[in-house]
């Protein structure tokens, strides 16, 4: 018989009373793990997708919507702006780079974005196979798109009108896949990229004559323009210049995401608080369980003392029991939290937005273990102390 065997035997005798404390602790840990994983990964993805982008220029509307649609590809665009805006920006000496994005179509929920090769440089995306597009209607697809649709270089597909799944198919939007990008862990993974001319071609159709062609060309538009400043001075001047234009608005991804977090952050904090309430309740439940167990087991403890166990030994047994319960709760909580992350990840993948991974549980692991052990120790310390101080002769009341 080992010390651990003795503790397990004692626990197995009264499984129901211990379930509540263990379940509460497991739920608290699961919630905490989920919040921490989701928050850190979403924050990192939001920052990574917006890295290198100082400003987004698009049609007037909600600046947050403009940023969400143009940088993260999760909201509908605010509208279109004339193609001439790109040249206007490129003519500004405070602007180092202006990358046009032409959107509006999709393939199986993945957005088709007409742009320029510099967009790939912006996100530091490299080809895994195939080559860059060399002509309109050639497409380079992100790794997530390739994985989900099975498209490979040489394959062809038809774009769908609209950015949601289930729109009308463009019979004349036949794209040919020429390249697949390596995984970047950024928004690029979920995009179908093509030359911006493809998008115009799909929506203009063939011009009847030279005059109509010129009219169409003059009306060409883009959905948004991603801007990098040439110097920090840009931040002070460029947005003001843009917003002075009646049809244009400029939005800073950093500012808009900070605003978004001010709103969403409240929800995250609430969830975190809820997790701590659960953990606090588990502390109370475990304490009551252990304290009651002490009452029930006072003869067991007295007998252990009688046959040679010291007070410290008996206290240690109770502490070990609490740690064992915490260990079970920890395993359950981590599994539950990872499962919740996996479920939300599948929802997000369905919506073609962001991705979460439960495999990054590693760094969070350390302090979750500390929390669980601390709860167990706090719950057990008073019962253990009382067990150690028990008056053996009074409990046994011999003679």
């Amino acid at each position: 018989m080992t010390t651990l065997g003795l503790v397990v035997a004692q626990l197995r005798r009264r499984p129901l009373q211990t379930v509540l404390g263990v379940a509460l602790l497991a739920l608290g840990i699961a919630t905490l793990v989920f919040v921490v994983l989701a928050q850190s990964q979403l924050t990192r993805q939001l920052e990574r997708d917006a890295r290198n982008i100082d400003l987004v220029v698009g049609a007037k509307g909600s600046p947050l919507q403009l940023v969400l649609s143009a940088v993260y590809q999760v909201d509908v665009p605010t509208g279109n702006v004339p193609l001439a805006t790109v040249d206007l920006l490129r003519g500004n000496r405070l602007v180092r780079q202006a990358i046009p994005l032409a959107m509006g179509d999709s393939y199986r929920g993945f957005r088709i974005v007409g742009t320029e090769p510099s967009f790939l440089e912006l996100h530091e995306a490299a080809l895994a196979s195939g080559q860059m597009w060399g002509a309109p209607m050639q497409a380079v697809i992100g790794s997530e798109v390739a994985r989900e649709t099975g498209l490979a270089p040489g394959a062809e597909f038809f774009g769908t009108h609209g950015i949601a799944e289930g729109g009308a198919v463009h019979e004349d939007a036949r794209y040919r896949v020429v390249g697949v990008l390596a995984r970047t862990e950024s928004v690029v993974d979920r995009l179908v990229l093509t030359d911006k001319a493809s998008v115009w071609q799909v929506h203009e159709g063939d011009a009847a004559d030279e005059v109509e062609r010129r009219v169409l060309e003059a009306e060409r538009e883009v959905t948004a323009i991603l801007v990098r400043y040439a110097s920090p001075m840009g931040a002070a001047i460029v947005p003001r210049q843009i917003n002075a234009e009646s049809r244009l608005q400029a939005a800073s991804p950093a500012n808009e995401i900070a605003r978004l977090f001010a709103v969403v952050g409240f929800g995250i904090e609430t969830m975190r608080g809820f997790a701590w309430i659960l953990i606090g309740s588990s502390l109370l439940a475990l304490f009551v369980t252990l304290f009651n167990a002490l009452e029930e087991r006072r003869y067991d403890i007295a007998i252990m003392r009688l046959v040679g166990a010291s007070g410290a030994r008996v206290a240690w047994l109770l502490l070990l029991e609490a740690w064992l319960l915490a260990g079970v709760a920890l395993a359950l909580g981590l599994a539950l939290g990872a499962a919740a992350v996996a479920v939300v990840d599948s929802w997000l993948a369905e919506a073609r937005a962001f991705s979460l991974s439960a495999t990054e549980i590693g760094p969070a692991m350390g302090w979750v273990v500390v929390v669980a052990l601390a709860v167990a120790t706090l719950a057990a310390v008073l019962p253990a102390w009382r067990a150690a101080r028990m008056n053996v002769s009074r409990v046994l009341a011999m003679g």
Partner: protein, 166 residues
Amino acid sequence: MNVLAGILQPSVGSIVLEGDDLYPPAGRGDRWRGRRIGVVPQKLHLLASLSAVDNVAIACHFAGTSELAAAPLLEQLGLADRAWAKPAELSLGEQQRVAIARAVVNRPRLLLADEPTSSLDDNNAQRVMDLLLEVARTARALLIVATHDSRIRGRFARAIQLERPA
């Protein structure tokens, strides 16, 4: 009995077991007591979560002696096939034998039994006394029994009658 068992310090005087004071100023360790004094309490208080053999083995476990002694001892006491039964599955007589085994497994110098026959019929009372005397003789331990039971008065070499002071 508590004082003799080493778990209740006497307010005056001392208890000396084979030359060792049970209550020296620095105190005796619980383990020291567990190895030298075996106790069969009136209420047996077997640990309900443990099998018969483990109820005996905890005495070795906490006293720091070999647990291998537990199973053969139960066999000697006629409980070989009941060793893995939980106390709730044992008869009262079997429980008492397990408690006696727990008290003598560490080969104590002093064996104390508190009213060991009070809840037993005549036959079983005599049988328990046979057993106690037998294990005390085998372990070469001093057996002290506290009892009100007149049925077993004749079994002892010495009897001390305690009376309420007038």
